[in-house]
């Protein structure tokens, strides 16, 4: 029997939700019938609106999908202005202030505290510069990820930007693909870095070369069924298909149609295509795609470039990100800037857009490591750009602990999360920077902190993986983390080994300090990567490498932040929540 969500989707879904949202915006929050909240909140996701968690009723997270994280400075400025004018709530965040934008691991932008009444004005502003919230959440084609510097990167096989634009146009707002059994995440990589992180996407186009009709063709191998959520991580599997760039839209249409028709609509927990390929195997996946959805003979897979991949690969011979100054193919430079945990104040967003434009940049990029790239900086301007005040905070040469840290939204806003995340990761990063010496030769160290098993911070593919948990400390329930080690992508993608369970959150920095000390003492040589060091050891050895410990680190969020209406409010109790509120954050009169 189709799930309840499927029944709601059958009634109303896709493009038509926009008209309902506009009506609710005009009539106000109270116009959404209380007994239809669940159905409407599920549908609103399709237009990028996700209702915030308990205690924050009437507030929404708004997600803006930017294909491959690529924007113009004008678009970035608009995001900053929308964040400044609309993404403010009743209480400030102590680390980030009252208005900010979050850059996500799928190269989108998230704004919080959005009121339904403001949506038409926000859409007007976003859409006037070519941005949209369409299909940013919900059961459809999500934001397409890939290298934001495609076409500018001096280190690439295929410029995928025109193809990604084509896919974006074809699959956004298209009724044929509007209602899929579950989310559909696509990655397209044309570079030699592996920066699309296709391995963890439902559908991945990986750069490859194939001899066809006596001619060497540059295109893609097609992998299917990657994903990290729900303790069921999978790497996308090779279905033995090569795809010419001009056929990418056809193959993508075939695969997403196959998912639409064969995906499980009875059980949402079993709906992602990773479970279908578990059941079918890659051979059947290929044959069904070929026989039922393609009108040309699919070539077998070509020669991939995986052995060159260095993005988030844990290698010692290359940085696994876009931070720093890099050559563009046109002789200019792109500069990757660190945005700790992906959150930037609205004022900084606007200032950065202004600075980028002043230097003639036509391209801003959001990366899957939650950082930001400014493209098109001429050689003669580079020193001046690097001297800009804003780059002291958002550095092109950050400390490795700040550079490598990723965190999801957490209990600040998210219903799923078990623990507080972003503010905590900021505090971890600062403490580690100030108190822990990295072993010689370690220039990158990736810590991914995720609040729950949904894995939005991609915890399984980091040097140190932190996944939200609880434990008891002196009898009291406290926020904690399961700790994994040694994950990463690259030539041989590996998920982290979970070696320490339920470490109290205030003992995690001490654990990391002890772990790095053990790594320095026991590694073969300064050339051995942390990832290789972990790979050489079995589970028991890894568990015994280091112990957790209390240190001078203080954790203000150790209690149950999920029980608060907002973790940083003066009175955090659920009863103190002003929600639901009117557009001015004032409590609405209660029905009681």
């Amino acid at each position: 029997m189709p799930s309840k969500v499927e029944r709601w989707k059958d009634e109303t879904y896709g493009m038509e939700i926009r008209e309902h949202l506009l009506r609710f915006a005009e009539e106000g929050w109270d116009a959404i019938p209380e007994d239809e909240h669940d159905a409407w909140f599920e549908r609103f996701k399709w237009w990028g609106l996700y209702h915030q968690r308990k205690g924050q009723e009437s507030y929404f997270m708004m997600r803006i999908g930017t294909p491959m994280g690529r924007m113009t400075p004008e678009q970035l400025r608009t995001v900053g202005e929308v964040a400044r004018d609309y993404a403010t709530g009743p209480v400030e965040n102590p680390e980030f202030g009252d208005a900010y934008a979050d850059f996500t691991t799928r190269q989108s932008i998230q704004l919080h505290w959005i009121k339904v009444e403001d949506i038409p004005d926000i859409w007007d502003e976003l859409e006037s510069v070519g941005l949209s919230t369409i299909q940013a959440c919900g059961d459809s084609w999500r934001n397409i990820v890939g290298s934001p510097v495609a076409g500018r990167d001096a280190d690439e096989l295929v410029d995928v930007w025109p193809i990604v634009q084509e896919l974006h146009e074809k699959f956004k707002g298209n009724d044929l693909y509007a209602n899929l059994p579950r989310k559909w995440k696509v990655a397209m990589t044309g570079d030699r870095r592996g920066s699309g992180q296709g391995d963890i996407n439902d559908l991945a186009f990986e750069p490859a070369i194939k001899e066809l009709d006596g001619e060497e063709v540059e295109g893609f191998n097609v992998n299917v069924g990657g994903g990290l959520s729900r303790k069921e991580p999978r790497f996308a599997r090779d279905i033995d298909v090569f795809c010419r760039p001009e056929n990418a839209a056809d193959v993508a249409a075939g695969m997403s149609s196959l998912f639409r028709d064969y995906g499980d609509r009875d059980d949402r927990f079993n709906a992602r295509i990773k479970f279908l390929i578990d059941e079918w195997g890659p051979e059947k996946m290929r044959s069904v795609l070929q026989e039922e959805y393609m009108d040309y003979e699919l070539p077998t897979a070509g020669q991939g470039l995986r052995d060159e991949y260095d993005y988030n690969a844990g290698r010692t011979d290359a940085h696994g990100d876009y931070i720093g100054v890099h050559d563009q193919s046109d002789g200019q430079n792109f500069v990757g800037l660190s945005v700790l945990v992906g959150r930037m104040s609205a004022d900084d967003v606007i200032e950065l857009a202004d600075r980028a434009e002043a230097y003639g940049s036509e391209m801003i990029g959001l990366t899957q490591r939650q950082n930001l790239i400014v493209g098109d900086i001429a050689d003669e301007d580079l020193d001046d750009f690097l001297d800009e005040d804003l780059l002291e905070e958002h550095s092109p040469d950050p400390h490795p602990f700040m550079r490598g840290s990723i965190a999801c939204t957490g209990t600040e806003y998210c219903s799923l999360s078990i623990v507080e995340t972003k503010n905590r990761m900021v505090r971890y990063g600062r403490w580690l920077r100030d108190n822990v010496d990295l072993p010689e030769g370690v220039n990158d160290f990736h810590i991914h902190l995720s609040g729950c098993t949904a894995s939005c911070a991609q915890p399984q593919i980091a040097d140190i993986s932190l996944r939200g948990m609880k434990t008891r400390k002196d009898g009291d329930a406290v926020e904690a983390f399961d700790v994994g080690l040694g994950g990463g992508l690259g030539e041989n993608p590996t998920f982290a080994d979970w070696v320490k369970m339920r470490v109290p959150a205030d003992e995690v920095p001490g654990y990391i300090a002890n772990l790095l000390e053990a790594f320095e003492a026991e590694r073969e040589s300064p050339e051995q990567s942390f990832r290789d060091f972990v790979a050489e050891r079995d589970e028991d050895e890894l568990a015994n490498l280091a112990e957790s410990a209390e240190t001078s680190y203080e954790d203000p969020y150790l209690g149950n932040t999920k029980l608060t209406w907002y973790p940083y409010a003066e009175d955090t109790s659920m009863d103190a929540s002003p929600a639901p509120t009117d557009p001015n954050d004032q409590p609405l009169p209660s029905d009681d």
């Binding site: 007994d35 968690r53 078990i418 339920r502």
Partner: protein
Amino acid sequence: MTTDVHQLDDGAWVSVNDSREVNVSDLWRLAAHDFCACALADFLAEGFVEVSADGANVEGRIAGRCIQCGAEGVTDWLTLGRVDPDTGEFRPVVPESVHLPGRRRRPAAPR
């Protein structure tokens, strides 16, 4: 009286009559259970897998972990709360109190 119950947002919470009532991340004390070897399991709710209404009773099976012994899995049916037949108001159980899962056998229910 019919009670409308379902889990949403990847099992993050349970909705009762279109009102979100029970959330993940609470610790539940389980006694007389077969979830793990602990006499009194200290169970962290990470996701609602199945939910069902039996008259006014709202019940669910929850994925999660005992934070004492580390055992992972899905619980047997647990009573999550009860809908007051007079007012229609949902009264949740207190997770930290002791619960006895699976005391009554019940058929699988649609999600």
